[in-house]
Subunit: 189 residues, 2 copies
Amino acid sequence: MSSSVLLMSMSVDGYIAAPNDGPGNPGGDDFMRLHEWYQGPDGEFGRPAGEPGAIWDELHATGALLVGRRTAEQVDYYGGDHHGVPIFVVSHDPGPVSYDNVYFVNDIETGMAQAKEAAGGKDVLVHGAVTAQSALAAGLLDELQISQVPVLFGSGLRLFDVLPRRVELEIVRVIDTAQATHIRYQVLR
Amino acid sequence: MSSSVLLMSMSVDGYIAAPNDGPGNPGGDDFMRLHEWYQGPDGEFGRPAGEPGAIWDELHATGALLVGRRTAEQVDYYGGDHHGVPIFVVSHDPGPVSYDNVYFVNDIETGMAQAKEAAGGKDVLVHGAVTAQSALAAGLLDELQISQVPVLFGSGLRLFDVLPRRVELEIVRVIDTAQATHIRYQVLR
């Protein structure tokens, strides 16, 4: 069975983007603070050493990406290539995107169904705050992989913000490092 | 040196109180969901078994409590007794409280100074969202002990909400249990 997994880096106060995010400044001011833990042996962005490497491997083992328009636009739809998998973008207003691997879908239900089919039994990677919230509200999110970075951003864009109802989780795995506390949750129904 | 330690239980989406909190319904609807991990061997509220017991012990080793008016009022100022230490309540409008051990202070600076003096070298326990935020903003908070409970509350009162600036933290200790991920942070300056 294909699972849907939200994978995000978040500050301790729940922000995933800093103020002033937009095209040209993806993730907002000093956004990379939340992603410093993606650090390869050469100090550059890449597969982290030690236990967090598993998160990188899991991300690259997913078979499709489901993402919101706002997030996708800020990074030019990943140049049409996010580890080679089909990219499904939730939007009522399909943009002028010509990448072969990018598909617009009208709503979260259609998007998740198409992404799961495209993933062919692999997991579906979910990105973005709006998409996370609508997937949770629709009962379509199976797991959360949150990398909680030891910083209080103070303001910006919240990952969860306000949800229509309480959602119980189960802690599946905790990876404890100095750079981040990586917690994987299963969504209980 | 006396440290100030914020000790709170928080949902994964950053809430410390559910909707409809107030006197008569302290912490809001189903508030106890965040405090189930305080469970003694008899299943009742108390010192938890195993590693989280250390958090209980640290709490009871503090020498003073600094708390906001809103939080204190909801629990009738702890009946004047929070593990026997002096209770400092930050409020511009002292209430009609006759407990011997409760002291009103005008602002966070005065409150922290008096609490530290009263603690006599022991740590100062800090409670409440408003007090946490104003202590952080004033640079008066030394450590955070956050028990992160695997639930998305969806709405309620946020622990950190909006802060005037970014605050860097250092992870001091992670206690990984099924009921909560207990993370202790040092505030970096």
